[in-house]
Amino acid sequence: MTLTRRQMLRRSAALGCCLAANPLVTPVTLASAPSDNRLVVIILRGGLDGLGLVQPRGDAGFAALRPDSGAALDLDGFFALHDGLASLHPLWQAGQLGFVHAVSTPYRDRRSHFDGQDMLEAGTGMDALGRNRSGWLNRALAHLPGAASRTAYAIGRADMLLTRGAAPVANWAPDAALTLSSQAELLLERVMHDDPLFRDATLEAIALSATDLGGAMTATDTTTSGDMMNAMSESVRAARTGTQPETIARFAATQLRAETRIAAFSLGGFDTHSRQERNLPRALGPLSTAILTLQAELGPLWARTTIVAVTEFGRTARLNGSGGTDHGTAGAMLLAGGAVRGGRVVADWPGLAEADLYQRRDLRPTRDLRAHLAWLLAGLYGLDRTTLEAEVFPGLDMGTDPRLIL
């Protein structure tokens, strides 16, 4: 039996499974967007060494803990910026780059990447460890009036807990092209129909592939099996060269210029257990590339943009036996963008004397980094304090406003 496309469409419609019903292909008007402010959340995986990035050279204890810490650019007479982010120094001078120091999630003592990242992305306290099923960004989205399916975008192949949850979040890797003939598309929708997990992901993948932003080719009536095979070679070729931070940032900017208001992605390589003088700059390069690409691609929207980069924990205050640092507690977060009140390092500095260190080994956290994230969400999107402290970041006391944005 062979069906025409028209018959297939009618059958699909009768089954209630049709692409047109997918919210992703329904045009979203810009007027319905919740705010004009743009937020980019970057998860730095592996545990960024905050003391290595923003070096408290004015602290008498620093030189002893970190001998030979290399070149750094003075920030404010007390802190200096690691040379690996030198390309961002002009942003600092323009007041569009800032840092928060000596902060951490409530995660303590176990120092595991996996639990640490879970808590960072879930935004919960120690009591929820191991039971986290949704991320703070997703729960915040649920309270954004007018939020639609493309208001938030998770970019890249890593599926982030940060954006997982009940609120719809668009999810795509810029190199994931999907090319299907119309017939294949309809048959696929049909075999996926009774399995919500597969059905929803299929519809979204097809819809994303059909946009200029998502993939290289668009499925049409003339797409053939041969095209489908070439498409795999295309995506394989793209994958071989890797998803560069430029590509991710450019895709994010494309989305942020349209309906998207919040974009999230992650960068890895911060687990510098050894030879930090070589390995930390290697991880910082992609971060500065991503930020500068966003700045270049966002154009006038840069003025409304806040980028925040956070990590699961800081690292030990002392270098270890192999020139690296082990998993620690407090660290630093980075803020960049035209909307940021930059040019300063926000910190209630705990000091680096032996007795000041957390468990005599780590930088002591003096504030919950979730408080800073909460104030950002309040400032950018008007989320109220009760919601933030009860639902987005359960158990958080936001304290006073650090006034991170203009």
Binding site: T2, S181, S235
Partner: protein, 458 residues
């Protein structure tokens, strides 16, 4: 619930094959698992200790290239390095092909699944141009021989592997008061922490930061060099006894036996039994497995002091493991492997000596599906949650692969109606049967059958 051969092959094996009849009973599966490893004999993969001289030579060639003083010397060193690498790349392509041929053609498919499960439990990732060749040889040497043996033996084997000692930084961990530290080098907690959190007791296990620290001190001395492999160096070991979970190990002289005693105690710990039981149930049955199943596996582990054949037997014979509802999603390696088995792949279909083509056909698509082979995101291995795998872009990669790879691999494709039986048996859902008939081409029909949830779940 009675034993179901079809379900056995889908849930505990590598999927259905048009060539090989499914096992007839759990006892038959166990007998094969505990019998000779025919698949490894037919499709060999080198063990780490076998390739270690090659890796050592590669390391020396790289050093020679760096230290060459003249252009001519540099070119010669470069050529030598490239020759060695080319040989290893060809070997690695064949090993990779063999992992898939084992899945496609074995009668003992449970062994392949268990090997993948335990390799994931003891994740050791090969980073860089030399170590990346070590991934499959590590599994072949440390994991595969023990999947029906004692957990304690597998634990010992895994932490004696250079790849593990390198991946989790153990070789650079020095007892702060050891002679080799010379007052300059110190402890690295990485392996000790992951051993307690991931390999044995579990993240919610009964240990503290002090236990991690003590374990790290106890493990000092475990190291390797590329020339002679694993070594225990007493001069790197922290002097004195250590206390882990309240038990004292060692004394004045550092001995490997003290580390082994601690590993045995960890392997025998009730928290380890529960941790391993839960992971098995999640991996093979459901992301939310029935507590009764976990209890049964924990009990069998405890009763048999971690005899993994017995624990596997408990899994295969528990009624909760045989729900006809397919509640798990295949990981990409299982998805691709079972597709190749359903397609009746044989050695001549794979470009076994061409790593680039192997990458294009299998490895890069798997990376796009979210599972770059041998490179999991961290020491905790691959995620088990189904939604982690079925995101739009990862599913897109699965769809793209099923639409094109079968033709590229097989050229002559079976009729979709026949393939339907090969891939799903006689109980394919109606929409899949319909799609097999309605597809415009064989490639498309086969692609849609492989894309169906009925095939992607287990």
């Amino acid at each position: 619930m009675p034993f179901d051969p079809r379900l056995a092959e889908i849930r505990f094996g590598c999927g259905l094959s048009p060539r090989l009849a499914p096992p007839g009973s759990a006892a038959e599966m166990l007998a094969r698992l505990t019998g000779p490893d025919d698949a490894a004999a037919a499709y060999p993969i080198a063990r780490f200790s076998t390739i270690q001289p090659q890796l050592h030579a590669l390391q020396r060639a790289r050093r020679a290239r760096r230290k060459a003083k003249t252009d001519a010397a540099r070119r010669a060193a470069e050529d030598h390095y490239k020759d060695l690498r080319r040989t290893l790349r060809t070997d690695a392509a064949r090993w990779t092909g063999h992992t898939f041929l084992r899945r496609a053609l074995t009668r003992d498919a449970l062994r392949e699944r268990l090997t993948a499960f335990w390799a994931d439990h003891f994740t050791a990732r090969g980073v860089g141009q030399i170590w990346s060749f070590a991934h499959l040889p590590y599994i072949e040497e440390a994991i595969r021989p023990h999947v029906a043996g004692r957990f304690a033996d597998m634990l010992r084997a895994a932490v004696a592997q250079p790849l593990m000692l390198s991946y989790l930084d153990q070789y650079r961990s020095f007892g702060p008061n050891s002679p080799a530290a010379r007052g300059k080098r110190g402890l690295n907690e990485n392996l000790a922490r992951e051993m307690l959190e991931l390999h044995t007791l579990g993240a919610n296990g009964p240990y503290t930061q002090a236990d991690v620290r003590q374990m790290a001190e106890l493990l000092t001395g475990l190291t390797f060099d590329m020339k002679s492999g694993f070594a225990f160096r007493p001069d790197m070991a922290e002097p004195g006894a250590e206390t882990v979970l309240g038990i004292h190990y060692g004394g004045a002289d550092a001995r490997l036996a003290d580390i082994h005693a601690a590993l045995d105690d960890l392997a025998a710990h009730p928290a380890t039994a529960a941790h391993v039981a839960r992971k098995l149930a999640v991996h093979f049955v459901s992301d939310n497995p029935p507590p009764s199943l976990i209890r049964a596996l924990t009990l069998r582990y405890t009763e048999t002091a971690g005899d993994l054949a017995a624990v596997t037997d408990a899994l295969l014979t528990h009624p909760d493991a045989w729900s006809t509802e397919l509640r798990n999603v295949k990981q990409p390696v299982d998805f691709v492997g079972s597709a190749l088995r359903a397609l009746d792949l044989v050695p001549r279909h794979l470009p076994l000596s061409n790593l680039r083509r192997m990458q294009n056909l299998l490895l890069t698509p798997m990376a796009l599906m979210g599972q770059p082979m041998g490179a999991p995101p961290g020491p905790d291995g691959w995620p088990e949650d189904d939604p982690d795998w079925i995101t739009p872009q990862r599913l897109a990669a699965r769809l793209q692969w099923v639409m094109s790879a079968p033709f590229q691999l097989r050229r002559a494709l079976p009729r979709p109606e026949a393939f339907l039986i090969a891939a799903l048996g006689d109980s394919a859902p109606e929409p899949v049967k319909f799609a097999a008939r309605a597809a415009e081409s064989r490639a498309e029909g086969i692609g849609i059958i492989l894309a169906s949830p009925a095939f992607q779940r287990f």
